[in-house]
């Protein structure tokens, strides 16, 4: 209230609001007190999360002297107790910290209970199966969460559970290696985007939208960086089409969803579909890539016999920049300022890295360092100046 009062006083003195408006706003604010301070929420929930992790660690220590029945009995009794606490706190859900704290504690204790059962009965399941099982049994409960952290926690663990559970069982012969990683990285942004679209459409799921959008953007950037580094290194080995089928299915659903979006203009649809198509092409080892590189990012040796346009380490950054540019134009066109700024920053960053890829040897000399420093400053200035023009241009684009 103190900050609002100060601001209102300033606006009153500046003549922006009338005394009546000043009084009316103050009366409204005093009748509608803000929820508990966000930092109390955050620390209380953080505390609950840390306690939950402590319980998981205690269980992981595997106390052998305690009989299994006692361990399980104590665990279930604690779960029931917390469940009772959540039920008792429910009428205070909108303003109560304890409801949210108990909710997080219960969800984390469910996760540690899965670990305890695995430990006692020596089940051979994988960690992602445990996460998926947890996400399924706590889904209804997560809908009652009003705090962003609780929903973010559920979405994060659910996504990891579902992504790895989909990709890992497809294809065999590669156990205990990370060959499924590219397929997971491609599926992650596509599936998250599909789920985000669904969460926006279904009112009950709208609480998950911001978490899903966060993971969509983060996983998309990671997917691009991975493909860029891998192709710039010259190859993407062990491509198993079967592993990519879930990503292609998710890509198909996403394309359909984009095409049917009423809020998007034809231009936005074309931009997003083009970015999606390029991303799918990016993860194919043969269609756009030759397996040969011209420059070596982390070594002094180059392969100047490989022609400029044939080299994967030229094609890869161009593809990255093209995808980022398409997405930046889309974000600018629909008025997503922060996304636009982030994506254009990534474009500038990729240009700097491309410079070092191609001219890395030059940076080893004094003159080279001066030129490189100047170039970085130039790119930063161009980005700062250019992005406003670009944003104005994208907003002005019509289908």
């Amino acid at each position: 209230m103190g900050m609002i009062t100060r601001k209102l006083d300033q606006w009153l003195q500046a003549g922006l609001i009338t005394p009546d408006q000043h009084t009316a706003i103050l009366a409204f604010e005093s009748d509608h007190p803000q929820h508990a301070n966000w930092w109390i929420y955050s620390f209380m929930i953080l505390g609950a999360a840390i306690i939950g992790l402590g319980v998981i660690s205690l269980i992981a220590a595997n106390w052998v002297d305690i009989p299994d029945s006692v361990k399980l009995g104590a665990d279930f009794a604690l779960l029931a107790l917390i469940a009772g606490g959540i039920y008792a706190q429910y009428p205070n859900q909108q303003h109560g910290i304890w409801f949210e704290v108990l909710l997080v504690s219960f969800m984390l204790l469910c996760l540690s209970s899965i670990g305890l059962i695995s430990q006692i009965f020596h089940t051979g399941g994988e960690w992602y199966h445990a996460l998926l099982f947890w996400a399924v049994i706590t889904f209804l409960l997560s809908l009652f969460a009003s705090n962003l952290f609780t929903r973010f926690l559920w979405v994060t663990l659910f996504l990891h559970g579902v992504l790895w559970s989909i990709v890992v069982p497809i294809g065999v012969e590669f156990e205990h290696t990370w060959n499924e990683l590219p397929a997971v990285l491609l599926l992650a942004p596509l599936l998250t985007a599909v789920l985000y679209q669904a969460s926006v459409q279904v009112k009950t799921l709208q609480g998950f939208s911001s978490s899903l959008f966060f993971w969509f953007q983060l996983s998309a950037v990671v997917a691009l960086v991975f493909a860029d580094i891998t192709h710039s290194g010259g190859d993407m080995e062990n491509y198993q089409v079967a592993r990519y089928i879930p990503a292609y299915i998710a890509g198909g659903i996403l394309a359909g969803s984009i095409a049917m979006q009423r809020n998007y203009s034809l231009l936005n649809k074309v931009l997003l579909l083009a970015a999606l198509a390029l991303l799918l092409l990016y993860y194919h080892p043969d269609l756009l890539f030759s397996g040969e590189s011209r420059y070596s990012l982390f070594s002094a040796y180059d392969h100047s016999d490989v022609s400029f346009w044939q080299a994967d380490d030229i094609r890869a950054p161009l593809l990255t920049l093209a995808i980022l540019f398409l997405y930046a134009v889309h974000a600018g066109n629909i008025g997503h300022q922060r996304t636009f700024n982030l994506v254009t920053f990534l474009i500038g960053l990729r240009f700097v890295i491309l410079y070092f890829q191609a001219m890395g040897g030059l940076a080893a000399t004094g003159i080279g360092l001066i030129v490189s420093g100047g170039l970085i400053m130039g790119i930063a200035w161009l980005w700062y100046k250019g992005r406003e023009h670009l944003q104005q241009w994208t907003k002005g684009l019509k289908a």
């Binding site: 992981a60 595997n62 039920y87 020596h122 706590t138 590669f174």
Partner: protein
């Protein structure tokens, strides 16, 4: 249903799922046929992973998960090891009809996985048990149901439950 009823459902559902899982696992462990099989470490660098032991079960059937053409190609997919009346490895679709005791699993990268290749152990005993299993002193006690699903009951060291064996050693 009103919101309060939904909350009860949301709270009871995980409890039922967790208690039910524990109950089913316990029933499976208590009701199956008991089988004891020797174990051996298959990867000396990764025998102890976290606080569980991973190992190969020595079924005593010779070649497991091989395609059967005499070459090096390995079989992939669902499979079973028949324990009675005749010991043998079979792809799931060619299991003999007279097999009365079997363990079902999956062949992956030339290894037969039946979900019993992991035994959780306490942190303080991890190193001692790791050494004994490396020395091929270990065996596992399983409970196998009529469908061929196996669950772990105990880890034996030199034929004794591991807790007893460690107490004796100390």
């Amino acid at each position: 249903m009103n919101k309060r009823t939904w909350l009860i459902v949301a709270l009871v559902l995980p409890l039922i799922a967790l208690v039910g899982t524990a109950y089913l696992k316990n029933m499976q462990r208590a009701s199956g046929t008991e089988v004891t099989l020797p174990i051996e470490g298959f990867d000396p660098r990764d025998l102890l992973s976290g606080h569980y032991l991973t190992y190969n079960v020595a079924y005593g059937v010779g070649q497991v998960c091989e395609s059967g053409d005499g070459g090096y190609a390995s079989y992939s997919g669902k499979a079973a090891i028949c324990l009675k009346p005749t010991l043998g490895f079979y792809p799931a679709d060619s299991l003999p009809s007279d097999c009365t005791l079997l363990i079902r699993g999956e062949c992956d990268a030339g290894r037969f996985n039946a979900g019993i290749e992991r035994f959780y152990i306490p942190e303080e005993h991890a190193a001692a048990l790791d050494t004994k299993v490396r020395d091929k002193q270990g065996s596992i006690v399983l409970s196998v149901d009529t469908d061929g699903n196996a669950v772990l009951k105990d880890l034996l060291i030199d034929g004794k439950p591991w807790k007893t064996a460690l107490e004796t050693a100390n």
